[in-house]
Structure formats: structure tokens, C-alpha cells
């Protein structure tokens, strides 16, 4: 049994009985729908998307379905790129955070992916095709993220979006200083203030610099000297921090207040690295120019507020203000439930601050793709990109809309009509 057959069998298990998957090699044509490409082709009425080998092969109005193609009739429907959730804790069950230390850069979400989490399927039913699985926010440097494609039914290693650059979660503010939660029996842990958070970061990167130098010196000597110097002892934690200094790891920083956002920009710039995204970033609108100048993205909630002190100045206009200042903004869920309706979260940016519909759509597709460094692969319907597509019954922002079909890599992983015949609630073994 070769790999392709195996994966086809897995998909069949995942979808009960599906004909589209059986013809894995045949091209797929999505015809008759309104295509919201989120790419240079804009919106195409009554267009066709042709998929070959899991990639988008052709998109356009005049494009016809190739001979032998499996045809998905999207007449009257809306076809958009699969939704990308830039802040998720799906598929890791309780293994969210290693809270015991302020810096746990060595731990990896990829090690604890639970491929049987039914929320993968439920989120597919909300049009989600890629998620950024992050640690919790109880420590300053939490651990390495995993970008996951929603290939429901596949084993953990096949869920990982392998081409996605490495990333790490930082956290600032109340959760880190444990303002609202004290684990029973846990000893007090530094930091307990926002001053302490800065100190933790600064110390961490001072150490990382020293570690980098140690290796650099060793390598310089090892290359030339006749006497074989002993290599420094490998430190998994510092190795990751060193890679951050070298720009090899995208930093996703949980934050709320304007001051802590400025603090992190200052520390990062001093040590010569970039923050890729500020997560939540509910007071981002107060320092939008600074975020834009640093070149970071903002991954925010549409309208959450008032649940804690640092969310008191949160406003639903955050996304609009940041976008107007040139920041790439995404709407995230941070929730297995909210993830299923991110399309309406994006719609709220139109209401609050008058973001254009085209720009709002980017906030759950192309912008989070950029934030995760995977925009060359996903985030829009363009020739050559992965065939990650969501088909809606109406415009994704409309109140009656519903996801009908979701494809990842050209494979139908969710189809409402098939679901009615019996939900494939268990992933393939």
C-alpha cells in the first residue's frame, strides 16, 4: 500500500463514503459559483476553479472543467480561500501550557497534537483550513507553535503544515504575572509585574547572545585549530532563543496594553529581531503607528472586551484603526467555538470602522497567511497555491450563510450534504 492509497483510505474513513476522494488523481472543477479570490483576480462571477494534485491549476470566468474532472456545482454559492485562524488551541487537549518556568522555549506544540480532536472537523465545517496552534499565555516565552492543516483523519505528523516557518509564543501582561489565576499549591513565580516581564525578556536574550557567541567562537576555532576544542554543551532552550535572534523563528506575542506592546518592540529592536504578530493586541489601536513601523502584524479579536482589566480599553474599531495605519490585521478565535464563524468576525470590521469588504476578507485569509509566513502557499485562490477552499451557501458575510463544502489540498474534508447522512465524528485510526 503506497502513501497515496493509505491517505486516500484515511480520507474515506473520515468522510464515510465519498466519491471525490476515490478519484484522487482526477482533477476537480468547482463551477458556477461567485469566487472571492482575495487575490489579484478579485471577485469572479460564475467562475471556475480547477484543482490538480491538490493545487489550484486554473481560476477564471472562461475556464472550463477539464475532461474527467470531478465537478462540484457551486451555482448560487460563494467560493473563498480556506479560512486561517492565527490563534488556536484546537487539537492539543489539555496540553496547552508549560507553566512551571517563565521561559520554556524548548517545548513544542507539534509534540502534543491530538489528531482525534473532533473540533478539527467542526472547524472545517466553519470553513477553516489552517490554524496556528499556540501555547497558553501563562509564561513570558511559552514554546514553539505548530501550524496545522485541517486534514481530518490523518495522523498528527500529517496535520503539520510542514512548509510553515518555525514560530514561538510570547506572552505579556496579566496572564504572565498571574493576576487572575493562581494555580493551587503553586509557588510564586517571577514575574509578578509588567516590569518583571521586561526583565525576563531582557535576561533571556542576553543569555541567548552569550550562547550564540559561545558557539560562534567554538565554530571559528574548530574550523582552523589543530587542537580539537570541546563544543559547548547544547542547550535546547537557548538554541531556540538564538534562532529568534537570527530571525529564524516568527514571534507571536500575546499582549493587551499599549505600554507592553511598546516595551516588546523596544526589546526586540534592541536585540535585533522582529515581532511577527502581536496577538490579541487589544490596545494596538493606541500605538498603531509604532506597530506599523516595526513591521509586525496584528491578530486580534473582533469585539471581545471587559473580561479583565487589560481588556477594559478594548474597542471593536481596533482592526480598522490598525489596518488604516498599514498593519496587516487578522481576526482570530482563541476558541474552538468562535473558530467556526470567523467569517462573521471579519464582517464586523466593515461595521466598526468602515473597512472595505475586500480588506475584511483578507483578515481571515491572506493576512493570517502572511502572519504565519505561508502566504505563498495559502490565503487566496490563485494558480499554484494549495487548493484550500471553503464554499458558502451565500456571501460569507451574509446572515443566512453556511459553509457547504471545505477542501484542503483539493480533498473534500467537509461536505454538509454528506454530513447529514452521518457525521464522521471519529478520525481514522
Amino acid at each position: 500500500v503506497n502513501a497515496r492509497t493509505r491517505s486516500a483510505i484515511g480520507a474515506v474513513f473520515a468522510l464515510s463514503a465519498i466519491t471525490a476522494v476515490a478519484a484522487a488523481d482526477a482533477p476537480i472543477a468547482i463551477v458556477g459559483g461567485t469566487i472571492l479570490t482575495v487575490g489579484p483576480q478579485g471577485t469572479i462571477e460564475k467562475g471556475t476553479v480547477v484543482i490538480r494534485d491538490g493545487k489550484i491549476a486554473a481560476v477564471g470566468k472562461g475556464v472550463s472543467a477539464p475532461a474527467g474532472a470531478t465537478v462540484i456545482d457551486a451555482t448560487g454559492r460563494f467560493v473563498m480561500p480556506g479560512i486561517i485562524d492565527c490563534h488556536s488551541h484546537t487539537a492539543i487537549e489539555a496540553d496547552v501550557n508549560e507553566c512551571s518556568d517563565s521561559i520554556t522555549a524548548e517545548v513544542r506544540i507539534a509534540d502534543v497534537i491530538d489528531h482525534r480532536d473532533v473540533n478539527i472537523y467542526r472547524e472545517l465545517a466553519g470553513g477553516v483550513t489552517t490554524i496556528n496552534v499556540l501555547h497558553g499565555s501563562c509564561n513570558t516565552i511559552g514554546g514553539q507553535n505548530a501550524v496545522v492543516k485541517m486534514r481530518w483523519g490523518k495522523p498528527p505528523e500529517e496535520l503539520i503544515f510542514k512548509e510553515a516557518p518555525r514560530g514561538i509564543k510570547f506572552a505579556l501582561g496579566e496572564n504572565v504575572k498571574r493576576s487572575n489565576y493562581h494555580p493551587p499549591g503553586a509557588a510564586p513565580r517571577f514575574p509578578a509585574t509588567r516590569m518583571g516581564v521586561e526583565a525576563v525578556l531582557r535576561e533571556a536574550f542576553e543569555e541567548a547572545r552569550a550562547y550564540k557567541k559561545e558557539w560562534h567562537d567554538y565554530e571559528a576555532k574548530a574550523g582552523s585549530a589543530a587542537d580539537k576544542p570541546l563544543p559547548p554543551r547544547r542547550n535546547l532552550r537557548l538554541e531556540v532563543l538564538r534562532d529568534i535572534l537570527d530571525g529564524k523563528v516568527l514571534v507571536h506575542a500575546h499582549c493587551y496594553r499599549a505600554d507592553e506592546i511598546l516595551m516588546l518592540i523596544r526589546v526586540a529592536e534592541e536585540f535585533g529581531f522582529k515581532i511577527r504578530t502581536f496577538q490579541h493586541v487589544l490596545e494596538g489601536y493606541k500605538v498603531a503607528s509604532e506597530i506599523a513601523r516595526h513591521g509586525a502584524g496584528a491578530s486580534t479579536f473582533s469585539d471581545w472586551w471587559a473580561y479583565k482589566m487589560e481588556a477594559w480599553d478594548a474597542i471593536p474599531y481596533n482592526a480598522a484603526i490598525l489596518a488604516a495605519h498599514g498593519v496587516k490585521v487578522s481576526m482570530n478565535s482563541d476558541s474552538d467555538e468562535l473558530a467556526r464563524r470567523l467569517y462573521w468576525e471579519a464582517a464586523k470590521a466593515v461595521k466598526y470602522g468602515g473597512v472595505s469588504e475586500a480588506e475584511a476578507l483578507k483578515m481571515v485569509t491572506l493576512n493570517p497567511a502572511w502572519q504565519l509566513g505561508i502566504d505563498a502557499r495559502v490565503g487566496s485562490i490563485e494558480v499554484g497555491k494549495d487548493a484550500d477552499i471553503a464554499i458558502f451557501s451565500a456571501h460569507p458575510f451574509a446572515p443566512d450563510t453556511r459553509v457547504e463544502t471545505t477542501l484542503v489540498d483539493g480533498v473534500v474534508y467537509f461536505d454538509r450534504a454528506r454530513d447529514a447522512a452521518g457525521t464522521p465524528m471519529k478520525a481514522a485510526p
Partner: protein
């Protein structure tokens, strides 16, 4: 015929105005407002594609395609917009909470298990920043309810305008709030680290046993309250007992009991309990209400439910919670869609939209956040729809209120135009052009 019809309408309008105004104040169309040329979603009647709503003396004076604009009325051009009755959020902690994690700003749950004499209308903060935020998206009334423990306390229906708790309160008490016992064992403080080595069956048995114990406790409280109530009527008890005094009308079936229950077993348990003790029941939560639509219909138990939740069981269809409302409607169960929140109360129309996307007809969806909760709380004569004689609690929006792109442009409460300014619009103005 047309003139006659018009005359009938005019006299109907005058009658309504006369009802609304004491004759002395009828001099001119003082304080009369008319919204013209708007799409009108009346909820109690058919949608009027283009019509007029007349507001006078804090009441709705007329609604119709040909309703006459009284001379001197302030006219608001509603062309291209839609008028709705104010939204009613049937389960919230609005007014009782400000910042979730800041204990000093939260008055939702009392200590202890039995607090029937905790009354929401005592502590609703008329100056909460959350009220204008909810109001700016069309919400004009909400049930402010305490939570926690076994008997959480009594709720009040509040409106989103007023400067004192009394001014806010539309009706109190609306209901006694109870949490269906979870049956979770109390941790043994002497053996905190004792591992739980019980089997699933053992744990289920223990859960049922604990639940029965708490239900017996509740039943005893009701019996005691009944007796106390009778004592009150026959000359009064030796010394007042405030919890009993609060529970007595609940025990008599006069004030409804809202029981929070999500699981099928718990909902069925609550229905059986209410039937046995003559309690007028409302279910809150109701995640699995669709599984027990039969008994809810049979006993006419309404459900206060929020829609945007994950299914109760892993084996449920992904849309079990989304389709809950449509299933209840099909079975003839009464329900209101609620936010079950405070800061997220402004998103009530999108909860209804999700129910609509998964099978609930549009007219039933808007009803579930307006007239249905008003009916469940016995306030349908005053709020929940656009009909002559009702309180002028209404709003106008740029389109379908369940569309997340749509904005609210006007809100009236008691006929008075409300500011749409919020903490959020103020901060927006302050920072949007910061270089």
C-alpha cells in the same frame, strides 16, 4: 372606500394618541416623532416594506404603510433603513458586572448555596459602561440575572436607559434563578490528593445520588416557603424570614423558576421536578433541549438558549447547537435566544443569525430576540413588537440587524432618542487619527 379607510386609520391614530396622552397635554404634536419610508419589521404582524412608525408620549401611536404623520411631528427619514422593536436579551448579567476579572466590579453571585433573597434590581448599575454598548446595537431591554450556587436569586427585566436602578427596572421579580445540581462530589478537605479510582458507573451513581440530595433540599425549601406563605396570609410568622418570603411566590407557581440545565438528563430532571412541585419552569442554557423537545412541549416549558456553542457530545452533529432553535420551533417549544453574557450582549442578533443559517426562519429568528422573551417574562403587552399602544422601545438600522456589517442609526427607549455614544466610540475618536 379609500377615504373611508383613511378616516378609519386617522381616527385609530387619534384614539391611540388620546390613549397615550392625558387630554391636557394633547395641545400639539409635542414630542411626537415619525419615522417614514422605512422597512418595518413589526414582529407581531407582517413586515411592512415601506411604512411609517409614529411615536407619541413614549408609546407607539401608529405603525403602517399608510400611517399618518401628525402635523408638527419630528420626522426621521427612514428610506433604505429598517425599523425593529428593541432587542430583548433574555439572559444576561448586564448591570451586575463591569470587568469580569475585577471582583470589586462584579455583583453576580452571592456566597453560599441558597440566596433567594438576592435581588438583581437592587444592584444593577445604571452607569455601567456595558449598557450603552449593548444599546448601540439595538438592545433596549435585558434580563439581569444572578447566578451561582443552588438558588442564585431573583432577576429583573431592565431597560437600557435610566440613571437609577428603579428607573432601569421594567419588571421585578421576573424569576427565581436556580442552577440544576451538577452532582459533582464535594472535595474532601482532609484528603486533598486522594486519587479518584472510581469506575465510570460508580461515578455516575454518585452523581445521581448527589443530584437527588440537592433536589430534595430544593424541594424542602419550596415546601417550607409554601408553609411560610400561608403563615404570612394568616396573620404573619413570629419573625420574618427573607429567603422564605422570596421563595413563597415561586412555590405557589406565581413567579417562575429559571433552572439552568444543559444536559438532556438535567433538563428532564428539571421538568419532572417542576411538575412534581407545581413550579412554573423556564429552562436556561438548554444545550440539549432539542433532545427533550417532547417533554418541554408537553409541559409548555420555555427555553432561554444561546446558539453559538459547541455540541454537548462528541458524537453530535457539528451543528447541534446551531440547529437547536429550529428543532424546538418545529416541535412547538417556546424559546428565546439569549446572549447569556454581559459584554457580548451586543452580539445577540448574530446568535439569532446563526440559528437562522441553520434552519430557523427569519421571522422566527427576530421573534426569538424580541417578542418571545417579552412573552416568556409576561411583558408582551409593553415590549417586544411594533404595535400601537406598546412602549416606544425601538431602533433603526442600515439593513438586516442580523448582518454583522449593518449599523444601528437610531435607538428610542420609552420614546426618547438615545445616544449611540459608548466608551468604544469615544476611544475610537480619540485614537483613530493618532499619527
Amino acid at each position: 372606500v379609500r377615504t373611508l379607510a383613511k378616516r378609519v386609520r386617522v381616527s385609530a391614530f387619534l384614539a391611540a394618541v388620546i390613549v397615550a396622552f392625558p387630554p391636557a397635554t394633547l395641545r400639539a404634536a409635542d414630542g411626537v416623532t415619525a419615522i417614514t419610508g422605512a422597512r418595518i419589521v413589526t414582529v407581531s404582524g407582517p413586515v411592512i416594506e415601506k411604512g411609517t412608525v409614529v411615536i407619541a408620549g413614549g408609546k407607539i401611536a401608529a405603525v403602517g404603510a399608510d400611517a399618518i404623520v401628525p402635523p408638527g411631528a419630528t420626522v426621521i427619514d427612514g428610506a433604505g433603513q429598517t425599523v425593529y422593536p428593541g432587542l430583548v436579551d433574555g439572559l444576561t448579567t448586564l448591570g451586575l458586572t463591569e470587568i469580569g476579572s475585577v471582583a470589586g466590579s462584579v455583583d453576580v453571585a452571592e456566597t453560599g448555596d441558597v440566596n433567594p433573597h438576592a435581588k438583581a434590581w437592587i444592584a444593577v448599575n445604571a452607569h455601567s459602561e456595558l449598557l450603552p454598548v449593548a444599546r448601540a446595537n439595538g438592545l433596549t431591554a435585558a434580563l439581569a440575572a444572578p447566578s451561582g450556587g443552588l438558588v442564585s436569586g431573583q432577576s429583573a427585566l431592565i431597560r437600557m436607559a435610566g440613571t437609577t436602578p428603579d428607573a432601569l427596572t421594567l419588571k421585578q421579580p421576573v424569576a427565581m434563578h436556580v442552577v440544576y445540581p451538577s452532582g459533582r462530589p464535594q472535595p474532601d478537605p482532609s484528603r486533598p490528593d486522594e486519587p479518584d479510582l472510581k469506575t465510570f458507573e460508580e461515578r455516575q451513581k454518585e452523581k445521581k445520588k448527589n443530584q437527588q440530595k440537592d433536589l430534595r433540599r430544593l424541594a424542602n425549601l419550596l415546601e417550607e416557603a409554601k408553609a411560610y406563605g400561608e403563615l404570612l396570609r394568616s396573620g404573619g410568622p413570629a419573625k420574618p424570614d427573607l429567603p422564605m418570603e422570596s421563595l413563597a411566590p415561586v412555590a405557589r407557581g406565581e413567579v417562575p423558576m429559571v433552572i439552568r440545565a444543559d444536559a438532556e438528563d438535567d433538563i428532564r430532571g428539571a421538568v419532572a421536578f417542576a411538575a412534581e412541585h407545581g413550579v412554573k419552569l423556564i429552562i436556561a442554557g438548554g444545550l440539549e433541549a432539542w433532545r427533550c423537545a417532547d417533554v418541554l412541549k408537553e409541559r409548555d416549558v420555555p427555553v432561554l438558549m444561546n446558539v453559538e456553542r459547541l455540541p454537548a457530545r462528541e458524537s453530535d452533529r457539528y451543528d447541534a447547537a446551531y440547529a437547536n432553535a429550529a428543532k424546538l420551533r418545529a416541535a412547538g417549544v417556546r424559546f428565546a435566544i439569549v446572549s447569556d453574557d454581559a459584554s457580548q450582549s451586543r452580539n445577540l442578533p448574530y446568535e439569532a443569525a446563526m440559528a437562522r443559517a441553520y434552519g430557523l426562519p427569519a421571522d422566527a429568528a427576530i421573534r426569538a430576540i424580541t417578542l418571545s422573551p417579552a412573552e416568556i417574562f409576561g411583558m408582551a403587552d409593553r415590549i417586544g413588537s411594533l404595535a400601537p399602544g406598546k412602549d416606544a422601545d425601538l431602533f433603526m438600522a442600515t439593513g438586516d440587524i442580523m448582518d454583522a456589517r449593518v449599523s444601528v442609526t437610531h435607538v428610542f427607549i420609552d420614546g426618547v432618542t438615545q445616544s449611540l455614544e459608548t466608551r468604544h466610540t469615544r476611544l475610537y475618536r480619540e485614537f483613530k487619527d493618532r499619527p
